[in-house]
């Protein structure tokens, strides 16, 4: 599990530094998606994560992610963030705000899955 997580991190860090080119980005996104789905059987449970997003993130951000005590998380609102930034916010929270770090509760892969899910219109 730890070894797999390490493999997962490598393409992501590449992507952060070279993320300006659209084509490079698309290719790398595909790579990451493939890597994620390869892990999926063992690690990612999309239904459980969707439930987490709507029910538990939803306790501050609203069941339909329209916002509440926490801000609006609908995909239109989040479009200008890239998934790495969102993943970081999910894992480490935002100091001096009510957004807690979720690292104690979920894995990096799960946080990445949630970040990508939030950027899809389907999330609403």
């Amino acid at each position: 599990m730890a070894r797999l997580a390490q493999q997962e991190r490598t393409p992501l860090s590449v992507r952060t530094t070279e993320g300006s080119g659209w084509a490079a980005r698309a290719v790398l996104t595909t790579t990451v998606l493939v890597a994620t789905s390869a892990l999926a059987a063992d690690v990612i449970d999309p239904n459980a994560l969707k439930r987490l997003v709507h029910q538990d993130c939803g306790s501050c951000h609203g069941l339909s992610l329209k916002g509440g005590l926490g801000p609006d998380l609908r995909s239109d609102t989040l479009q200008h963030y890239n998934p790495e930034i969102l993943t970081g916010v999910i894992l480490d929270g935002i100091p001096d705000t009510a957004m807690p770090p979720w690292r104690p509760l979920i894995s990096e892969e799960e946080a990445e899955w949630i970040a990508r899910y939030l950027l899809q219109p389907e999330a609403q």
């Binding site: 439930r51 987490l52 029910q55 538990d56 939803g58 306790s59 501050c60 609203g62 069941l63 339909s64 329209k66 916002g67 509440g68 005590l69 929270g93 100091p95 009510a98 807690p100 770090p101 979720w102 104690p104 509760l105």
Partner: protein, 385 residues
């Protein structure tokens, strides 16, 4: 001839109708409503029968919903997250009025005389007040902040607090134009508040700094009273996965019991001096710490991911006397008015579970669709609920 028969039938029906309604009146004193958060419906339940009677649909986004009752226990005013304010007639089991009064709402209250219904909003930040009969807006009170902790207080007043600015306002509706009293420096990021059943003490919990802040509403000029100023999330900030709720079920004999923020503890505070009298370590971060109506027990549920568990604390020894796991995602608890039973919503099991509070035996399960808040009509006669 045919016409005559029809005429007779009509006359019979007209005379029968009132007799029939006298023969089978609907008593609402032991009824309640359960919020079904995912489907925008409420389930009408009967405490004595331990049964669901009807589902009323079409209430919008109920993801963080609550409700209050009219003094005659016939109407419920349901406050939805989407800003919807829905008036439900639990006798005819239908929606009788509905307005969408804001973009994003968090809770509401009804005035002591039952004539005004107030809603607190995140967006646009403030409180709006409606005629309880018609749902026409009678006052709009913008606060420039997400507004939380709205309660009714004796004397046709509402009290509410601002997450962003840390102020509490008292809106007095004795005359139809509200008189607003503003109390500054309540603390950083108040997240919720309660008023005690006698209407005297308003307590707001703080997220952004240690402790809580109380107001004595019997005072002519209420001043913020710091409670547990050295207690809170502390030097090492504790992540909070769900904001605790403060509800008016806080008094246990001579003490208030309150959920801590971030810490797996409930806090005990002397009701007269507002000084700490103890702490009880709990299974997880508490969401609700609710005193049974007699005050003898306190039932606590917890934030994700420990939200499958309930602990029961004896309010004399302050020790945990019972722990059990009703099921996944325990969201709310409601005691029967005299406390012999507690109804518990278990969201991910799709059930409301009913327990005997003396023996802890499970008495019944009722199917419900993602149940959250449970509200019995007895709340109609309590300040702050």
């Amino acid at each position: 001839m045919k016409q005559l028969i029809l005429g007779l039938a009509a006359t019979l029906m007209m005379t029968m109708a009132p007799i029939e309604s006298k023969a089978e009146p609907t008593a609402t004193g032991d009824l309640g409503l359960v919020i079904e958060r995912a489907s925008g419906s409420v389930l009408l339940v009967d405490q004595s029968e331990r049964a669901a009677l009807a589902r009323i649909e079409g209430l919008g986004d109920l993801s963080h919903a609550s409700l209050v009752y009219s003094p005659d226990q016939r109407f419920a005013y349901v406050f939805g997250r989407d800003g919807g304010l829905t008036k439900v007639d639990i006798v005819t089991r239908q929606i009788v009025n509905r307005v969408v009064q804001a973009g994003n709402a968090i809770g509401g209250a009804i005035s002591d005389d039952g004539q005004l219904v107030a809603v607190s909003n995140y967006e646009p930040g403030g409180v709006r007040v409606f005629d309880a009969d018609t749902l026409e807006m009678v006052a709009d009170i913008p606060t420039g902040s997400k507004t939380i902790g709205l309660v009714d207080a004796p004397g046709r007043r509402f009290v509410f607090t601002m997450w962003d600015t840390g102020e509490t306002w008292i809106a007095d509706f004795t005359d139809n134009t509200p008189q607003i009293t503003k109390i500054r420096d309540m603390g950083k990021n108040p997240y919720d508040a309660l008023i005690t059943a006698n209407g005297r003490t308003y307590i707001t919990g703080l997220f952004g700094e240690d402790g809580l802040t109380a107001l004595d509403l019997w005072s002519h000029t209420p001043e913020p009273i710091r409670v547990l100023p050295d207690y809170g999330r502390g030097q090492q900030e504790m992540p909070v996965y769900k904001m605790p709720h403060l509800e008016g079920w806080a008094l246990t004999g001579r003490e208030f019991v309150l959920p801590a923020v971030g810490h797996p503890q409930v806090l005990w505070i002397d009701a007269d001096t507002l000084s700490e009298t103890g702490r009880t370590q709990t299974h997880g971060q508490p969401v609700f710490a609710m005193a049974r109506p007699d005050g003898r027990q306190v039932w606590v549920n917890f934030a994700h991911p420990l939200n499958d568990t309930i602990q029961v604390i004896d309010s004399v020894s302050k020790e945990i006397i019972h722990e059990f796991k009703p099921g996944p995602a325990v969201l709310h608890m409601e005691f029967t008015p005299r406390g012999h039973e507690v109804w518990i919503s278990v969201r991910d099991a799709g059930k409301v579970m009913i327990y005997d509070t003396q023996t802890f035996e499970k008495l019944r399960e009722i199917e419900a669709d993602s149940p959250s808040g449970i509200f019995f009509t007895a709340r109609a006669h309590r300040t702050g609920l």
